[in-house]
């Protein structure tokens, strides 16, 4: 167009274009949107018929697990509940758990990492040693022990515990980044102008840390989803919600795993695929954020 040119794209736009160049990233997005659709459709079946309520809806004519039919596209479980409705509801739970837990752990990790990096000294040592201890703890088993102490956990307490045990990885990265930002001219300048610590952190450091935190978020989502699913699979999930892990537990514990592939396969495929999609998106984002991983010439 004109001399002024429209070349100067925003950084977000540029990142997005780089992201779309990665076939892994695109594939991840596509799979993920299918799950998003599933989560949305999970609100539909009960409106048609209470029989399709994932938890309470029992087909009165069915008393054992049934293979797929027109009435129940994916068959029913041992009580005659519709597997497809459960699968759709599971998508909702997976998103809920994955995204909230990841968001919470990222926020926690970013703030603690920033504090440690910015203040250094005792704060740093204390936070990072705590992070070291938490990092060697197997989160799933910790939650198991907590479950035994507190006699069962609701979905929200599971989410909170996951977040509490998943911040150290992020905080380390954020801390390192803060350390390198801390001595940049713009921060020094703000300090010289007498900006408060809070202001420097919120106005100058945080905006530079957010993209990195975002990258970690996708990997945290996979971790949270897997932990919740594993917990439910072991029988310690929230008994009031249907999750894919819980569906697998039902197949397994009711002895249907050798005879009901229509019931065994879908939840496992869903957990694996949603993890895969977040993981692929994470890897593609890594490539956008880390220029060293970029391919800048033809191969």
């Amino acid at each position: 167009m004109s001399e002024l040119g429209f070349e100067g794209k925003g950084p977000l736009r540029e990142a997005w274009e780089l992201f779309l160049e990665s076939s892994i990233g695109k594939a991840g997005l596509i799979i993920l949107s299918i799950f998003a659709l599933m989560a949305i459709f999970s609100f539909v079946p009960p409106m048609i018929d209470p029989m399709y309520h994932p938890m309470k809806g029992v087909d009165p004519e069915i008393t054992t697990s049934q293979p797929p039919s027109l009435r129940h596209w994916l068959g029913t479980d041992f009580m005659g509940r519709d597997i497809l409705s459960q699968l759709l509801a599971g998508a909702r739970v997976a998103f809920l758990v994955g995204i909230t837990a990841a968001l919470m752990s990222i926020i926690l990790g970013t703030f603690l990492g920033m504090l440690a990096g910015y203040f250094g000294g005792v704060v740093d040592t204390l936070l990072m040693r705590t992070a070291d201890v938490i990092m060697v703890l197997p989160t799933l088993l910790v939650i198991l022990v907590l479950a035994s102490l507190f006699k069962g956990l609701s979905i929200w307490s599971i989410v909170i515990i996951i977040a509490l045990f998943r911040w150290p990885g992020v905080s380390r990265v954020i801390r390192a980044q803060t350390l390198s930002l801390k001595n940049r001219p713009f921060v020094e300048a703000a300090k010289a102008l007498g900006a408060s610590h809070l202001r420097i952190m919120m106005r100058h450091l945080l905006p530079n840390l957010v993209p990195l935190a975002f990258l970690y978020m996708t990997f945290r989502v996979t971790a949270a989803i897997v932990i919740e699913a594993a917990l439910a699979f072991l029988g310690f999930g929230d008994p009031t919600t249907v999750s894919w892990g819980m569906m697998l537990q039902w197949v397994w514990k009711t002895g249907h795993m050798f005879k009901a592939p229509y019931w065994l396969l879908p939840p496992g495929i869903c957990i694996s695929l949603i993890t895969l999609s977040f993981y692929m998106i994470g890897r593609a984002m890594e490539q956008v954020l880390d220029p060293r991983l970029r391919k800048d010439w033809e191969g």
């Binding site: 197997p138 989160t139 799933l140 088993l141 022990v145 035994s148 990885g169 594993a230 993890t275 060293r292």
Partner: protein
């Protein structure tokens, strides 16, 4: 800093970490709803037994005194009484430790080695269909839901084709037969271990492969690789002698960082395959509300992970002179 002080330093850190963990457990127990000792007491116990336990744990005394008793008991390997088994916790757990270590270490080591080996190939043949195939395979196996993978393996290889046993660690007939030699028994255990090992292996090797591939690609751009090439080294030697030892370092680090993740998987696998290890014991203890057993199993697992971490660190220091000779 030489290797000795390095190991010493790390060992002290481990002791501190472990101390923090067990103290946290103690205080969490006091914080949890209900009487703390209710977790140590079963409804079948007689009043006498209850009094005895209360006395043993010092539950009639100040909380600080209870804490000291708790520590003393742990040092004496006295983890209390398992209600589910009706015996001392240590007696339940002690012969499960080796089973866990066997499955856990073989799967971690083999998957790291295979990941490094295949990652090297993927990087070496980058942007070929082999590379694409390895990358996709790794992505898929690395994100597959582990218990489900276990169930599939049991279903296919155990049930459909009857190639491997469905569960357990050994065939009682073989082990009870006095005629059977060591080799026969070892083969029997390996036969039982094949599927649990395979599922842990599949879950892990992909992560290491992807990491190794990226690390190798990064390393190949380093200046010392150019030097090696300029020196007239064969491509094979450049990869194996110069790139590999450097590219493998981040993989070793990540083995250490992912140990906690691996032991989660270990517990799930043990449960799915009824492998008699500490992880499965922990899961069962939690479902039976057997708190003393759960606590002991957890502490043991924590020790295993902490020690494994130190071993990985020592290995790293051994591979990277920049750590060894500070």
């Amino acid at each position: 800093m030489n290797l000795k002080t390095f190991i010493l330093k790390r060992s002290i850190q481990v002791v501190i970490s472990f101390y923090v963990i067990l103290s946290l457990l103690f205080f969490l127990l006091r914080l949890s709803p209900g009487d703390p000792y209710s977790k140590y007491i079963d409804s079948d116990m007689t009043q006498q037994e209850i009094e005895l336990i209360k006395k043993q744990m010092g539950l009639d005394k100040h909380i600080f005194y209870q804490y000291l008793i708790y520590i003393r008991n742990l040092i004496k390997m006295d983890f209390g009484y398992s209600f589910h088994y009706g015996t001392h916790v240590w007696d339940v757990i002690k012969n499960k430790i080796l089973n866990t270590i066997l499955l856990f270490t073989t799967s971690v080591i083999v998957s790291a080695l295979v990941g490094i080996f295949l990652g090297r190939i993927a990087a070496w043949r980058r942007n070929t269909s082999l590379d694409a195939g390895l990358t996709i395979a790794s992505l898929v196996t690395h994100t597959i839901f582990l218990p489900w993978l276990g169930l599939l393996l049991i279903w296919i290889f155990g049930y459909k084709f009857e190639l491997f046993p469905l569960s357990g660690i050994y065939t009682p007939e073989i082990w009870l037969d006095p005629e059977c030699g060591f080799l026969r028994k070892a083969l029997d255990v390996m036969h039982h271990m094949a599927l649990p090992f395979l599922s842990l292996f599949l879950l892990h090797f992909g992560g290491y492969l992807l990491l190794m591939r990226n690390s190798m690609l990064g390393t190949l751009k380093e200046d010392y690789i150019l030097t090696a090439r300029a020196k007239g080294l064969r491509e094979k030697d450049i990869i194996n002698r110069h790139a590999l030892p450097n590219a493998a370092l981040p993989v070793v680090t990540s083995v250490g960082l992912s140990l906690a993740f691996s032991i989660n998987g270990g517990a799930l696998t043990e449960t799915v395959f009824s492998w008699p290890g500490i992880g499965r014991e922990l899961v069962m203890a939690v479902s039976h509300n057997d708190y003393p057993l759960a606590q002991a199993a957890f502490l043991l697992i924590a020790i295993v992970v902490l020690l494994a971490n130190v071993l990985v660190d020592i290995l790293y220091a051994f591979l990277d002179p920049r750590i060894r000779y500070e």
